[in-house]
Structure formats: structure tokens, C-alpha cells
Subunit: 184 residues, 2 copies
DNA sequence: TCATATAAGTCAACATTGCTGCCATAATAC
DNA sequence: GTATTATGGCAGCAATGTTGACTTATATGA
């Protein structure tokens, strides 16, 4: 693979630049090649980032959906079911299936809301927090290596671009998280 | 979370400090808060990036798996089934199911290998290329907005970090693609 | 206070996309 | 000529997403 042998109906005519130095950003800024590259980057980075935790999850008979729930409950102790649904963007039924398992194993606990007793505020139990941390550590290794290799400036760029890709409500979420983390 | 308030699961009472300035990166570089943030960034950015194409895929009765195949076949015309399996990291059966549909709709064509006639070299047909481009354009909007807003330096950092997160073979792949695209 | 809206739980049924194991065919390689 | 490789196909299972309908408890507002 890799080399286009036959045809390739796309790229009508590309101007060629000889070398291939640092960053050949000449024409319009986000050129097609860069956008294409981004598609691949998203695929591979997401795949390998999640794979790190999948190994542990497999041992426990859990899946990525459980990890996502643990992560967001861990970051937002006392979150309501509705709010968690809003973050994950899945249906109540999909979340219920996951939460039932997590509560069955004692990783997540519920508490009625203080002001609104219809709510069931979700939190990690000690063992849930331990598991979530274990999953986190499994991803941390790969991630911190990437961060260290790239440097603080690159990490800042990474954060900016990732933030820009997500929709507004997600941006607001990470902005708040960021603020919260910083002041804690 | 970052700060141990009580033990480490929830936080009944948070100590609050007033301000919340720029970026307090003092301690070790990739501090926990940053790693935690990255988990959220990966989730939201991937979710919204793929969602853009999902709308179109739904109309056609296709899924993300079909999009991924179209993307990598489009980027690597004449790729063998084995190589595509290596990129996608799924089983032969999972890919076969997807390819059967794509060939049934006439989006993908096969040709026997020239040197090894066991191979079935995969390429996009004209209509496959059109569809792939349509899917690409749906993601491009969001992505190029993010790129433009962040700027070339940030994009470079984004690329570096994403590359560092993926495993070695994926890094080699994107390095080759990068070189190929740049010189084309 | 009664009507309506909201938070949450639950059931049944279904689709997509992974996986395993097993087997077949054709072509290559030693 | 036998082993290996590239591909294809079948049966069946698991995880996780979906819809739609219905219930219960609680909150809220006219």
C-alpha cells in the first residue's frame, strides 16, 4: 500500500514543492493534505489511547462505556443522571445498563438530592475511585510520554485544537473543568 | 480532581481559592490535572469529529466502520486486504462484513494483484470517491475552523502530541502519509 | 390543591460492529 | 509436493448504541 500506483480520482492537480522541510504551509492554511492527516491522527490516537485501558477493562468484564461513566462521575462527584446523560450523549437506556453493572459491583453509589429528592446523585465509591485511577494510570503512561516529548508549547496547541474541534457545550465543559482543576 | 480533599473519591467540601489565573504549570510537567483534561479532550473531540460524518452515513444506512474503510482505501489505492486489516486492527470477519456492503453498493472495487494473484487490491470506484469526499467535507468544516482559530503553531503541536499518543506502527504510517502528501 | 412537568427507572426489541472458531480455495514458496 | 499465505465464508456471541412506551416520585406553578 502506501504508494498510489494506479489512479486515484482525487487530488486533481497538486503543485509540487521539492523538499519537505518543516511546515510547508503556503497556500490556504488548512490545506487538504492537513485535513486528511487529521482524520488519520484522530483515528490512530483515539484507538491507541483507549486501547491502554481496554486491557484492564477486559479482565474485569467491563467495557469502554463503563470507563467513560467512571471517568465523568469521578470528575463530577454528585452529578445527576441527567447531567451525565448530557455529557455522554447516549440514551437513558444505554446509561442505565452501564450504571446497573457499576453499582452492582459497588463502584458507584447513589444519594438522593438534597434540594430535589427526585435526583440520584452519582459518586464513585472508594473501590470505584481505585479502579478509575488504575484505568487512568494505564493511559497516563502513553500520554505523559507524548506530552513530555512534544513539550509544553505543543501541548498547548494540542489542547487548543482539540477544544476547537468539539462543540460549544463540550467547550464550556472543559473550560469549567480546567478552571476547577486550576484553582483546586 | 488532582487535590486529595478527603481521601480520593469524592469531595464533600472543596476548599476554594479566589482567583484562577493563567496556567499554573509549576510542579512536574504533565501534572495530573493535565492528564485528566486530556482524557476529556479525547472523548469530546473524537465524539464531535465523528458525529459530523455520522449524519450522512445514517442517510445511507452505513456506519463508522464503512467510513473508516473508505478513508483508508481512498488514501491507499490498491491496498491489500491484509494491509487494511493491519491499519484498522479489526478481524478479517469484521472487515469482510464492511467490504461486502461497500462493494455491493459499488463504492469499492477489487483487482487481483499483479505479482501475487492471491491478493485483491482494493480501490474506491468513482462513486466511492465521491462519497468519501462528501464525508470528508462534512468533517472538514469543523476541523478547519478549529485549525484556523488555533493557528499554525498550535496545529503543529496538535500533530506532535497526537503522533506521540499513537503506537509506533501508526506513527510510521502517518509519517509516510505525511511525506507522500507533501511531495505529491 | 390540582395539573403539569421533570428526574429517574424499566421493559422489549433491534442495529452496528467488534470477537472467536472453523473450514475452503487458490496461489506462492521452499 | 508440502507448507504457508491471502482471501473468503459461515455460525454464533458480546458490547453498546438506538427507539418507544410506561411507571413512580417529586417539584412547581396557576
Amino acid at each position: 500500500m502506501s504508494e498510489p500506483k494506479i489512479e486515484l480520482r482525487e487530488q486533481p492537480g497538486r503543485t509540487r514543492l521539492e523538499p519537505r522541510q518543516a511546515a510547508p504551509i503556503d497556500r490556504q492554511f488548512p490545506c487538504e493534505a492537513e485535513m486528511r492527516m487529521a482524520q488519520s491522527l484522530m483515528f490512530f490516537a483515539y484507538r491507541d489511547f483507549t486501547n491502554a485501558a481496554d486491557v484492564i477493562l477486559d479482565e474485569l468484564g467491563l467495557g469502554r462505556a463503563h470507563h467513560r461513566a467512571l471517568h465523568f462521575i469521578g470528575r463530577n462527584p454528585g452529578i445527576t443522571v441527567t447531567d451525565l446523560l448530557g455529557i455522554l450523549r447516549i440514551t437513558k437506556q444505554s446509561l442505565a445498563r452501564v450504571l446497573t453493572v457499576l453499582m452492582g459491583f459497588g463502584y458507584v453509589s447513589q444519594a438522593p438530592g438534597r434540594t430535589d429528592r427526585r435526583q440520584r446523585l452519582l459518586s464513585l465509591t472508594p473501590s470505584g475511585a481505585t479502579l478509575e485511577r488504575r484505568l487512568f494510570e494505564s493511559q497516563r503512561e502513553r500520554l505523559s510520554a507524548a506530552y513530555l516529548a512534544a513539550g509544553a508549547t505543543a501541548v498547548d496547541g494540542f489542547r487548543q485544537v482539540m477544544r476547537g474541534i468539539m462543540d460549544e457545550s463540550a467547550q464550556r465543559y472543559v473550560d469549567n473543568t480546567d478552571a476547577t482543576e486550576a484553582e483546586e
